[in-house]
Amino acid sequence: MAYSVQFAHEPASAHGSSEPVVVFEHVSIGFNDLKVLKDVSFQVGPGETRILLGPAGVGKSVLLKLVNGLLRPDSGRILLFGEDITHMTERELFPLRTRTGMVFQEGALFDSLAVRDNVGYQLMERHKPVDEVDRRVRDSLRFVELEHTYDLLPASLSGGMRRRVAIARAIIDQPDLILYDSPTGGLDPITSTTIIELVVKERDVLGTPSLLVTHRLQDAFTMVTHRFDQTQNKMVPLPHGQINAKTSFLVLHDGKLIFDGTTAELITSQDPFIKEFLA
């Protein structure tokens, strides 16, 4: 497959050593009088996919924005690629941010730019030659199977297509970490599945570590029970009883991280909130 060659790169563990990609240590943040996150600690290891579950408004987006320094914690420490970003200036953060791909809740595509310029934005900012940008934009769009939208403006795309373009924009420069903010939020079940298929494809083909936020349990379980088959070019279920070992869970409730563990641990958890959430 074309992209598997062009995107070919070692799984993220090869970029750094075996140190975690993201570390949160006792992180708290609030807005005015509202405490959103209280004493949150967790890690994203190399090659890991971590799914953050939690009801709407609990602070999932806030947590994701803390990871690449779009928001600053009130207290605690955050490490990204081994570097302490807690007190970094905006300028110092830029190089770390460009190593991180972020897919925003509604896509957050630039309205005024065509799909090509949206996807190639980072490369154009770095003044890459036009034909290189063209080529890599096409590769990235092919990955999300939206090559035909190359010249279109975001306004003419459907909600699902916008998310896919946002994924193409996030992965174009082969990031070392991907942050997905509710990539299926507000989409119908069928479109949601195509988005999750792309996330699984990203995980299994490119192997980039990621942190994915969702309030839809369905998505999370599709991710652990499926793999991407490159020969068939689609997502297929794992054999019965098997789950993806690199994918694990975090659960946020009332500002606190109440769960951090594997799929099996999640399903058998005795926590009343988790039991109700899974029900």
Partner: protein, 262 residues
């Protein structure tokens, strides 16, 4: 009344914080002029949008303001037998006060509001965050180009307004008041001193800066979805208009002091 007092306290605190934020915002927008990367493409695009796009309204307001000045002044001046000074009156009023202020207010209504709503919708749809996540500083990419092009364009638009205002005055004097055209232009031209022109062309630099920084500042601070965008837009137009008139007063006072020593 502890409750009302508490409220005043909170409002005052917010105002002070906002002024502080705005000062830092202004400082950054200027400091970025000397930092890389520079977005010349965006500067040109904004110059086209703000400058060329505003020409029609500036031409119309300039012309009719000059015309109405001639109309209103002719009668009073005639009472003192000074009708010959119409040109002088029109050109002085236009160049020192009316062209800068009216052009500023027009462009403020059109562009401070436009910038606030554009940046505001980018803020509420997370496009500003997306830009930061992609490694671009929105202050450099969005604010500084708008600031630079508004300052330059308002300067040029004010010159257009000066010219059109004088022409409007001439039109009224010649065709409605039946005055002598040569006399009008001679008096208009003779009246102009260096101080008047310096004053008239310094003002738009400040007004342009106010329009762009206030428009962008309110846009970038937008919260609360589409409703918030509407709120920011209105606030930006109101605040920039008031600031223009206030700063006009300060500048006029300062110029009097600089050029005539009182």
């Amino acid at each position: 009344m502890p409750l009302a007092l508490e409220k005043i306290d909170i409002v005052a605190k917010r105002m002070v914080l906002a002024v502080q934020d705005y000062s830092i915002f202004c400082w950054q927008s200027v400091a970025n002029l000397f930092r890389t990367p520079k977005y010349w493409g965006d500067v040109l695009q904004q110059a086209d949008l703000i400058g060329v796009g505003s020409v029609p309204i500036v031409v119309l307001t300039g012309f009719f303001t000059g015309g109405v000045l001639a109309l209103q002044s002719a009668q009073s001046l005639a009472q003192f037998g000074a009708q010959a000074y119409t040109g002088r009156f029109v050109s002085l009023s236009m160049i020192r006060e009316l062209a800068p202020v009216l052009t500023g207010l027009m462009v403020s209504g059109r562009n401070a509001g436009g910038m606030a709503s554009e940046l505001g919708s980018m803020q509420v749809t997370e496009q500003i965050d997306a830009m930061r996540a992609l490694g671009t500083d929105p202050m450099k990419k969005l604010v500084t180009p708008r600031m630079l092009s508004t300052v330059v364009m308002l300067f040029l638009l004010t010159i257009i307004s000066d010219t059109l205002g004088t022409a409007g005055g001439a039109f009224v004097s010649v065709f409605i008041n039946n005055q002598n055209g040569t006399q009008y232009f001679t008096s208009a031209y003779q009246a102009l001193a260096y101080a008047d022109i310096a004053q008239g062309l310094t003002k738009p630099l400040f007004f342009g800066f106010i329009i762009a920084t206030i428009g962008c500042f309110f846009g970038m601070r937008t919260t609360g979805g589409t409703q918030g965008v509407g709120r920011s837009t209105t606030q930006a137009v109101v605040v920039s208009s008031i600031l223009i008139i206030f700063v006009d007063f300060l500048l006029s006072r300062a110029m009097l002091w600089i050029f005539s020593g009182f």
